[in-house]
């Protein structure tokens, strides 16, 4: 009886929900809820609607996508997967291995994605040779942002080495400015950590330590130095940092409370959304050292029933990679287009710098996936590393201990 | 006429525990059957079985000639009054009384008529619009009875209905129940642990102990000829004197010797009884009198040492130690008995019950 009643009600709900129209449909699960991000999604939604699609927004904010991933798992298990999901890095392949992703090769081939996407990025979008995700953008993670006025007032240049950074920070601290705006959330700790690894260890070391998880690299003296630098930087952070959202840290740089922030270029979206000008109000530079850490946002399409939904997926995939969207979206989001054939004239200097560096590092072999943003490793491994990094940063653990724990945690994460 | 209630080889178990064993009871219409016994004897369980509130494990049960063994309570044509009255707390007195009729779909006019009739009979008309919480104990009792009476059932069941009342009210209600029984000529099964209630109300008594029937009989039978030591001890107040004694065949009769300080008390049983050597002699206090105040065939006198004198208004009880027991005699109020002094007592041997020492069963 109860079952029956529920079944009736839910049938009604389904009927009511699907009776609208039979055009392309997409329910999009994402966690882009902050200012610049939300604007960017709105762009996609408008374009989708302009092409006759009906977009159902399913934002789940919080925890850097944790809550969204909870919802995603529940929905996939219940056989009620969303049409498209913001998903990236090896997670795409992991979901593919579970057999729940849809194949969008037909769109990709028709649109010639292979010709316009850099090989390393295309690699992330493919699962066993078929296309299973559509890239939206390329974020650079190893950025350092600064308030131009604050630097000028204190006579400081953008640092090019970590020693310079430390010297500048000491000076700022003495002047009563918070040197480093930071939010004490595990992934933000990890973001800073990976830029320090790249800066101190160099691209090769980064590859060994955070991509290949080579135990030797993880326990090396270089890694000890990295943790030493982290300890130093802990001293440059104000005492209220714990649990702060990244965009609030960005706001601190914007209003001159703090001088620097180490954060991916989505931070630029916040600067821009607040009407700040790159090069004038705020400065951007890659964090000290060589290399380029990328974080590619993408949408994966899940297996769904219904032609209208499948049509929605194809349309969505097509629009996402199309030049127009890539341009407009990334102007809002702060990142650069994933496809290489988009003219960057409208983009600011930071974006142009990013595009330039992407080309050069790609040639030099130092274009590397970000570990902190789930591009390099699977969840359990990157999580294990983050646990140690954040524990070290938030306590008085010695660097030597941290290195030991790092190796142990990685070994325990398989 | 068919028996109104017929219980045949009834058994009741809770898991492995036997609560009731081989119960066989039959009563005629108009009978007032009292189930009596100490707490835990199974009398309430038996009543619940009759009501159908408990499933029976074995045997059969019929009411008014119809087999009711597996019939649900509502179809047994019974009414029941509970110890706690079990009045429905949210309903008024009137609703409490008519609830059963309402459930059975009796039309409103009949309900009203019946209610009026019963309320008049029990003198509870002023209470009809009150709730149970606004009633005194005695009033609640009346309402509970009203709820049963209004049903006009084949059989009334009462589960210790008077035990929550104070002593005076209890006696009053007892009389009323008896009157009701006589006016309505109803068939009643009544559970109590109070043997006086049993004696005053019953036309038939069942004494229960440990789930086994000890004796069934009229109050007089139970009182005068208890079937065993348990019944003898349980029924009657003060209790029957139960005195260990030695029986010796002696010509025409039997000599009964009761040990006491300063030489055995010797009595003669002149009835022709085959008694074993060790017996328990049972004699009610009123069958021991002061010498000279009792005459008859079996009366024998003997001198006993008085240990204690208890005046009780109409009577005076005198206690003397015989056979290692405190033996009570019920004397007239003007007796000259004095504690510590000897007194001549008259034993009415024609009223004596004998019980086997080992089994406790009655011998005569």
């Amino acid at each position: 009886m109860k079952r029956f009643a529920f079944a009736t009600v839910s049938t009604l709900a389904v009927v009511a929900g699907s009776s609208v129209l039979a055009g392309p449909q997409a329910e999009v699960l994402h966690w882009w809820t902050s200012g610049g991000e939300a604007k960017s999604v709105a762009v996609l939604q408008e374009e989708f609607a302009a092409n006759g699609g009906s977009w159902t927004d399913m934002p789940v904010a919080g925890g850097g996508g944790d809550a969204a991933m909870t919802a995603l798992r529940a929905r996939v298990l219940s056989g009620n997967a969303p049409t498209a999901v913001q998903l990236k890095g090896p997670a795409i392949q992991e979901w593919y291995e579970e057999g729940v992703l849809a194949d969008i090769s037909s769109v990709a081939e028709a649109e010639g994605w292979a010709d316009v996407l850099p090989a390393s990025i295309a690699g992330h979008m493919k699962c066993e040779g078929t296309w299973c995700a559509a890239p939206v953008n390329v974020h650079r993670v190893d950025w350092i942002w600064a308030n131009a006025d604050v630097l000028a007032a204190n006579g400081i240049e953008m640092p090019t080495t970590w020693d310079e950074f430390n010297a500048a920070a000491d000076k700022l601290q003495a002047a009563g400015v918070i040197p480093l705006a930071h939010g004490g959330q595990a992934w933000q700790d990890a973001t800073v950590f990976e830029t320090v690894v790249l800066g101190i260890g160099g691209p090769e070391f980064f590859q060994k330590a955070l991509v290949d998880l080579d135990p030797e690299a993880l326990t090396s003296d270089t890694m000890v130095q990295v943790f030493d630098q982290m300890r130093t930087m802990r001293g440059y952070v104000d005492e209220n940092f714990s649990g702060r959202d990244w965009n609030l840290a960005t706001a601190m740089v914007m209003n001159g409370e703090a001088a620097f922030q180490i954060m991916g270029d989505w931070a630029k979206g916040e600067f821009l959304a607040a009407g700040k000008k790159p090069g004038e109000d705020f400065l951007c530079a890659s964090t000290p050292g060589d290399g380029y850490l990328y974080n590619v946002d993408s949408f994966a399409m899940f297996d769904v029933d219904g032609d209208d939904k499948k049509a929605g997926q194809d349309l969505l995939a097509k629009l996402i990679v199309a030049p127009n969207f890539q341009k407009v979206f990334n102007l809002n989001k702060g990142s650069i287009p994933a496809r290489t054939d988009v003219a960057l004239d409208d983009f600011d200097i930071c974006a142009n710098l990013s595009a330039e560096d992407m080309g050069s590092t790609s040639d030099a072999g130092s274009l590397l996936p970000s570990y902190a943003h789930g591009m390099a490793l699977r969840g359990s491994q990157s999580g294990a590393i983050t646990d140690v990094v954040t524990a070290h940063f938030n306590s008085d653990m010695s660097s030597a201990d941290a290195v030991q724990q790092l190796a142990a945690a990685v070994a325990n994460s398989y | 006429m068919a028996p109104i209630l017929d219980i045949n080889k009834l058994y009741k178990n809770y898991g492995a525990t036997e609560i009731l064993k081989d119960i066989n009871i039959s009563i005629e219409p108009g009978d007032f059957l009292v189930l009596v016994g100490p707490s835990g004897c199974g009398k309430s369980t038996l009543l619940n079985c009759i009501a159908g509130l408990e499933e029976i494990t074995g045997g059969t049960l019929s009411i008014g000639g119809n087999d009711m063994t597996h019939v649900s309570p509502k179809d047994r044509d019974i009414a029941m009054v509970f110890q706690s009255y079990a009045l429905y707390p949210t309903m008024t007195v009137a609703k409490n009384i008519t609830f059963g009729m309402k459930v059975r779909g009796v039309d409103q006019a009949t309900q009203d008529a019946k209610l009026k009739e019963v309320a008049q009979l029990l003198q509870i008309e002023p209470l009809l619009n009150r709730r149970p919480s606004q009633l005194s104990g005695g009033q609640r009792q009346r309402v509970a009875m009203g709820r049963a009476l209004v049903r006009d059932p084949k059989l009334f069941l009462f589960d210790e209905p008077l035990s929550n009342l104070d002593a005076k009210l209890r006696v009053e209600m007892r009389t009323e129940i008896k009157k009701l029984h006589q006016t309505l000529d109803a068939s009643i099964v009544y559970v109590t642990h109070d043997q006086i209630e049993a004696m005053t109300l019953a036309t038939k008594i069942v004494v229960l102990k440990g789930g086994v029937v000890q004796q069934i009989g009229t109050p007089a039978e139970i009182y005068n000829n208890p079937a065993n030591l348990f019944v003898a001890d349980f029924m009657g107040s003060p209790a029957m004197n139960l005195i260990p004694a030695q029986a010796r065949k002696n010509g025409s009769g039997t000599q009964i010797a009761i040990a006491r300080e300063g030489g055995d008390l010797l009595l003669t049983e002149s009835r022709d009884l085959a008694l074993p050597q060790d017996v328990i002699l049972g004699l009610r206090p009123e069958d021991i009198a002061e010498a000279g105040f009792r005459a008859g065939d079996g009366v024998q006198e003997a001198e006993c040492l008085v240990d204690m004198v208890e005046p009780a208004g109409a009577d005076t009880y005198v206690v003397s130690e015989l056979g290692g027991k405190q033996v009570t005699a019920r004397l007239h109020a003007e007796t000259s008995a004095q504690a510590g002094k000897p007194l001549n007592l008259a034993f009415d041997m024609s009223k004596v019950s004998y019980f086997a020492k080992e089994t406790g069963e009655r011998l005569n």
């Binding site: 579970e98 005492e239 524990a391 | -």
Partner: protein
Amino acid sequence: MSEWLENHLPKVVLAPSFIAVLIFVYGFIGWTAWVSLTRSKLLPKYEIKGFIQYERLFDSPRWDTAINNLYIFGALFIIIAMVLGLLLAILLDQKIRVEGAIRTIYLYPMALSMIVTGTAWKWILNPGLGIESMVQGWGFTNFEFDWLVNPDYAIYTIVMAAIWQSSGFVMALFLAGLRSVDGEIIKAAQVDGIPTWRIYTAIIIPSMAPIFLSAFIVLAHLAIKSFDLVIALTGGGPGYATDLPATYMYAMAFSRGDIGQAASSAMIMMLVVFAIVVPYLYSELRAKND
């Protein structure tokens, strides 16, 4: 047929709930136990691989922290909430004029989810925005209250907020208990000239033993299930200093894609719950069976 139905109706009525509980509680516990023996990652797999997940769990320093936090949090939370609840109940039991209003004030936190009040708490406890800056603003510049961001003390802020949320409910339980103590006993004690505090310690409180048990069980189960609280207040941070088993399990299952690990931690949590609840259930049903 209707006879059968009439006789079996109680069972028929209970059956759907019972079946639902069998499936949705015990079936799922069984499912979790099974998955804890597999190497499930992103989604559950059903191939048994032994106790590897438990070995990993016990090797994990983060789990150690989570369990230690549960001890600290659980012990402090339960004890303080009980003591405070009892104290408040006794204070309120002194024929207070505005009892209704005060009671409501003490009780209302129970009505609100930590998702709702978390932001306010975060604010109050934040050294730069809340109490610390406020007191410093009054001129006490040396005043420090930075527990929220101090990994060694952050767990105590969780305790504070948890007590804030639940002690009013405990107060209500105890108040109900105080009101149900037989008034004649208290009168007798007063006539005997026993001081009020002795009446409480020697007569009233001991007679409320069942309420202590109820309160303990409610609080213990809240402590073990605490999740919203940590997420809203610290997100488990700083670092993972305020992780609790529930948040650990959640992180493993949903942000790490390590479902096997999550299942093993869930099983350990279940064992803890079991150890607390079963004796309670036993005593509960024992007492009522008579």
